[in-house]
């Protein structure tokens, strides 16, 4: 295949040839090409199909604003849908496929939609598919979803790596066109730390696409020389292939650097893209301007493109859009395209200029005061019909048509913090408003300074004002001479003639007619117009189409364009891969993994692990022959209650509280009293929120007069600590009390069961007496074990058995676990996991997060009397509210099935034995449930209205969704050892 449209010149390296494949066909291009320029060079105009009507489409632009030429890039797991061919840097072996088609790109079966366009106008979803309602889910939606939409996902895991990074600078310059380069030179030469970011792989902006000279050099050469100078400055960081996607608070900008999108596969370990968070003191937005198209009938055929894109392809990529081109313009700039292409030997059919005073500078034809009214060519432009000034009609033969409707300053970044652009009549365009984000200045075409000299001068001014704002002195930068043509435009948005469709938004298939229809149906706000017609809601966010829609809306409403206003610009500036936003935080690395001190030992035992917050905890320890988790859990429970079991409870939050006022402080955070707790004793504490709802529970052990160790539940460790610091710093700032989280400093194990003391006596150093008399239930103390290792011992029990918790510095946790298992062999010690832990605490009626669920009070939990009225504590006043203290308040109870073979599933609700089953008659619900191997049937904890007086009552447990209805009996929540004799043994 030859590159039949390749011409001479450009910034491509024709000494090397790259091979690539599009829709299965092989083509060639050169380094420096984009996929779009290479396809055009090979005479491929048809690159995609539109969203709704499946119209054949080619490139409209030569940059990131492209609405049409979207492809599926690469294959396999690396396939990336909706990728703009205009920004894809060509590499050897590149593979791309067209998308959104049924059949081939040339014979798309869904092109039938184009014939049905009368039914598919704006709002057709709302009108056409109204009824019958049942059809929506089964019929309409699947069809619409199949027909609409763009590229498809690979549905495979992305094999590439994405990174995140942080950068700091004095001045961030966004865009490396003439303004950005001049700003970077000024700031860079002055010694400021500068980041210059540009989305293109070649810096220079329009200088690479125009034939202007700067001084004695071509614009492109000046840009290259300037970039070389900037690269030599150690205080300047050049970031090409980097799109600044958003302007955030306090000078923070988000940017995506495409490190390795220009190769097929990144080198091992190298990221494909990086998301940068740039902290800037000042930012100069030099984002340039985007040319806008003109609306006329059938203005969407492949070959019809922006005049500026046509120049880019000719000047930068040495590609003629076709052998024969025409231009349709309302301003002087459009004539440049004709002049440039003419100079390259391309035949100019004519320049059609809407203005009566259009200039004539060349020896091709200029049709003054004329308009293109229609085009022909099924898969690509062949003819353009022109209405001449005298009313007669003429047909131009052309394979490409350049449109120039004027330029829109790229105000995107200036609006990310609710800034609104303002209308400039001379430019017939919106320019940045005065309410810019703090620290931002705008220069160059983005600010409406469209000429090269004007852009460079305003870049220098922008940099100077940024430097001044941070107290740096700018060195004088002398700029070479450059083009400084005045803007000469007469606003012209769309051709009024014709009954057919004139496209505004080519990606979402929104036409002039749709905007008119939307107005006719009463959508008068620009935000409503957008949502009703979907104008500007495609992946290009209407970069080339929104202005046309606004202009038509203004005309219909009899308003000016600024009165109509714009929709809100939001980040990201261009489509951003979810992968780069996630960075490395995916899969196993989604959040940090916290391992318990006995994790490696547990893994050796073949433990099954469960995620609890960030922690991995052993859930149960399957033994040989056990095929079901219940077998393992039942065995662990029975063995622990019969002899002794051990469980890693390091994950529970531990907070060290020290200071003269430590006891007084605990009195504030717990609803029950702590002031009188003796040294060497532990107490259960219930913490309330200020609104009287239970927040968390745990124990506080008084290790010394001024030293407590507080435990929290695993899940609330962070929140409780935060709350305690709030109480300490914000409510009682003069209390002498210090807090520190020691959760990870101590490895802690529960050793439970009738033989737990005998086991521990083998480990605890002999000088510490842990007999029942010397170390009774709820005792605590500092001890040593294994011949001198410092440790803490607490005689507390979650299981209801004689039990201890023993803590050693974390680094000894693994060794202690192994020692316990070794010394416990004679007692048949078993390790138990979180499931057995849960079973034993339900058997004992102990509450956890299921019961402290953010809706329950101390009263609900059966601990109402614990809330001391004699002291001030968080939550005590509001817990007295009437509504929380009614006679039929929910109370925690135990639940057992009347038929012992029946389960009592958690989440089920309780109803009276007779009467309706509905929310009005709800009596309560089940919070925790399990099979009790000790009792031989299922048991549960739950809340029942007025539960205190309902023990012995039979009720119905219902779960209408899962069709469960079981008769149960309300019992005491203490299923095992209700008198607590085992605890105190």
């Amino acid at each position: 295949m030859t590159q039949q449209n390749r011409i001479s010149g450009g910034q491509i390296d024709t000494s090397q040839t790259l091979k690539f494949t599009f829709d299965g066909k092989q083509y060639t291009g050169h380094p420096g090409d984009t996929l779009a320029s290479a396809l055009l060079a090979n005479g491929v105009r048809l690159m995609g199909r539109s969203f709704k009507y499946h119209r054949p489409r080619g490139v409209l632009s030569a940059g990131s604003e492209e609405p049409n030429a979207l492809v599926e890039l690469r294959g396999g797991a690396r396939q990336e849908p909706n990728t703009r061919a205009t920004t894809v840097e060509l590499y050897n072996g590149l593979l791309a496929n067209s998308q959104n088609r049924l059949g081939s790109l040339k014979f798309d079966l869904l092109a039938i939609n184009d014939r049905l366009s009368n039914f598919l106008t704006a709002g057709f979803y709302y009108k056409t598919f109204m009824w019958p309602a049942a059809f929506w889910e089964k019929l309409y939606e699947p069809i619409i979803r199949k027909a609409a939409g763009l590229g498809s996902l690979s549905l495979k895991e992305d094999p590439d790596v994405y990174d995140k990074g942080f950068l700091h600078c004095d001045v961030l310059i966004i865009g490396a066109g003439p303004a950005g380069l001049a700003a970077a030179l000024t700031a860079g030469r002055s010694g400021a730390s500068v980041i210059l970011a540009d989305e293109d792989f070649r810096m220079g902006g329009r200088l690479n696409s125009e034939t202007f000279t700067i001084g004695d050099a071509s614009g492109a050469d000046w840009a290259a020389a300037t970039v070389a100078e900037l690269a030599s400055l150690p205080n300047v960081r050049l970031m090409s292939r980097t799109t600044v996607i958003g302007a955030f608070d306090h000078g923070i900008y988000g940017a995506v650097e495409r490190n390795n999108d220009h190769v097929a596969t990144p080198d091992e370990g190298k990221p494909r893209q990086t998301l940068w968070r740039i902290y800037s003191k000042q930012a100069v937005v030099c984002a340039g301007a985007l040319e806008r198209p003109i609306g006329f009938e059938n203005n969407d055929r492949p070959g019809i493109m922006l005049a500026s894109a046509m120049r880019s392809y000719a000047n930068r990529w040495a590609v003629a859009a076709d052998k024969r081109v025409a231009i349709f313009t309302n301003n002087d700039d459009g004539h440049r395209a004709a002049a440039d292409l003419h100079a390259k030997g391309v035949k100019i059919s004519a320049v059609v200029d809407t203005r009566a005073d259009a200039p004539r500078n060349n020896d091709y034809e200029v049709l003054v005061g004329a308009q293109v009214i229609d085009t022909k060519g099924r898969l690509g432009l062949t003819f353009a019909d022109v209405r001449l000034a005298d009313g007669s009609e003429r047909t131009l033969e052309c394979g490409a048509l350049g449109m120039s409707g004027g330029w829109n300053p790229n105000v995107h970044m200036t609006c990310h913090q609710r800034g609104r652009p303002v209308w400039n009549d001379d430019l017939a365009a919106f320019v940045p408003g005065a309410d810019l984000p703090a620290g931002m200045t705008v220069a160059g075409a983005a600010n409406g300074d469209f000429s090269t000299a004007g852009a460079m001068a305003s870049g220098v001014i922008g940099a100077k004002s940024a430097l001044k704002a941070i107290g740096l002195k700018a060195k004088t930068t002398k700029l070479p001479q450059a083009e400084d043509a005045p803007i000469n435009i007469s606003a012209f948005w769309y051709v009024k003639e014709g009954k057919g469709r004139a496209w505004l938004d080519q990606q979402n298939d929104v036409t002039v007619k749709d905007v008119k229809l939307s107005h006719q149906e009463g959508f008068r706000s620009v935000e409503h117009l957008k949502r009703y017609t979907t104008l500007g809601m495609a992946t290009d966010q209407g970069k080339t189409s929104n202005m046309g829609g606004l202009a038509i809306m203004a005309e219909l409403a009899g308003k000016t364009i600024p009165e109509v206003g714009t929709t809100i610009f939001r980040p990201p500036y261009t489509p951003t891969a979810i992968g780069v936003l996630a960075g490395r935080a995916r899969g196993q690395e989604f959040h940090p993994k916290r391992l318990t001190p006995s994790h490696h030992w547990a893994k050796e035992q073949g433990a099954v692990f469960v995620e609890v917050g960030n922690w991995l905890r052993a859930q149960w320890f399957p033994q040989k022959g056990e095929t079901h988790w219940r077998q393992s859990v039942d065995r662990e429970v029975i063995a622990t209650r019969k002899s002794v079991g051990v469980c890693d409870v390091t994950t529970l939050g531990k907070i060290d509280v020290q200071g003269a006022d430590a006891a007084e402080f605990l009195n504030k955070i717990y609803c029950n009293g702590f002031a009188k707790l003796a040294v060497g004793k532990t107490r259960y504490g219930l913490m309330l929120r200020e609104d009287g709802i239970a927040m968390d529970d745990g124990t506080a052990a008084r290790m010394a007069e001024d030293h407590f160790v507080v435990t929290t539940t695993t899940a609330n460790a962070l929140g409780v600590y935060r709350h305690m610091e709030f109480v300490r710093q914000c409510l009682f700032p003069d209390m002498d009390v210090q807090l520190i989280s020691t959760t990870e400093a101590w490895a802690q194990f529960a050793v439970a069961g009738p033989n737990s003391r005998r086991l521990l006596q083998k480990i605890v150093d002999p000088e510490y007496d842990i007999s029942n008399e010397a170390f009774p239930f709820m005792a605590c103390g500092n001890i040593t074990i294994c011949g001198g290792l410092r440790a803490r011992l607490f005689r507390i029990s979650f299981s209801g058995e004689l039990a201890y918790e023993i803590a050693v510095p974390t680094r000894y946790g693994d060794a202690l676990m192994r020692r316990i298992m070794e010394e416990g062999a004679e007692f048949d010690v078993v390790p138990y996991g979180t499931e057995a832990l849960g079973v034993m605490r339900i058997e004992k009626g102990h509450a956890t997060g299921n019961e402290l669920n953010g809706t329950t009070t101390a009263l609900n939990l059966g601990m109402g009397r614990m809330v001391s009225k004699k002291k001030d504590s968080i939550g005590s006043i509001l817990s007295e509210r009437e509504g929380l203290n009614t006679d039929d308040v929910l109370m925690q109870v135990g639940i057992k099935p009347v038929d012992p073979s029946k389960p009592v599933p958690a989440g089920a609700h309780l109803m009276n034995l007779t009467g309706p089953v509905d929310a009005d008659h709800d009596q309560g619900y089940v919070t925790s449930a399990c099979y009790s191997p000790i009792l031989g049937h299922h048991i549960a904890l739950g809340f029942v209205k007025g539960g205190g007086n309902r023990k012995g009552e039979k009720m119905r447990l219902v779960s209408p969704l899962t069709k469960v209805e079981t008769e149960i009996e309300i019992v005491s929540a203490h299923f095992v050892d209700p008198e607590g004799e085992r605890l105190r043994a």
Partner: protein, 95 residues
Amino acid sequence: MIINHPLLGPRDASEFTYLGDASLIDRPDWQSETAAQDFYEYQYLRDNPAGLHQELWFHESGDRSWLVVTRNTLTHEITDVQLARDVARARGRSK
């Protein structure tokens, strides 16, 4: 967002946890005759200013200071940052 920590200098907002209105410092007297009403108002009633707002932020991934940050809710401009403990003392809180 960047919060200028009075002890540590400028820190990224992602290091902090937000709580809410700094009026939470002004916890009522539990022994007052109007305690029930006072606590109800303290717990549930907030101003929602369009403009300067004093609010509590916790430097969770940092030095664990509670801060009172004065932020403009319209612009996110932060005009003042103080240690909550100092603010609490200045408002008469002690033990």
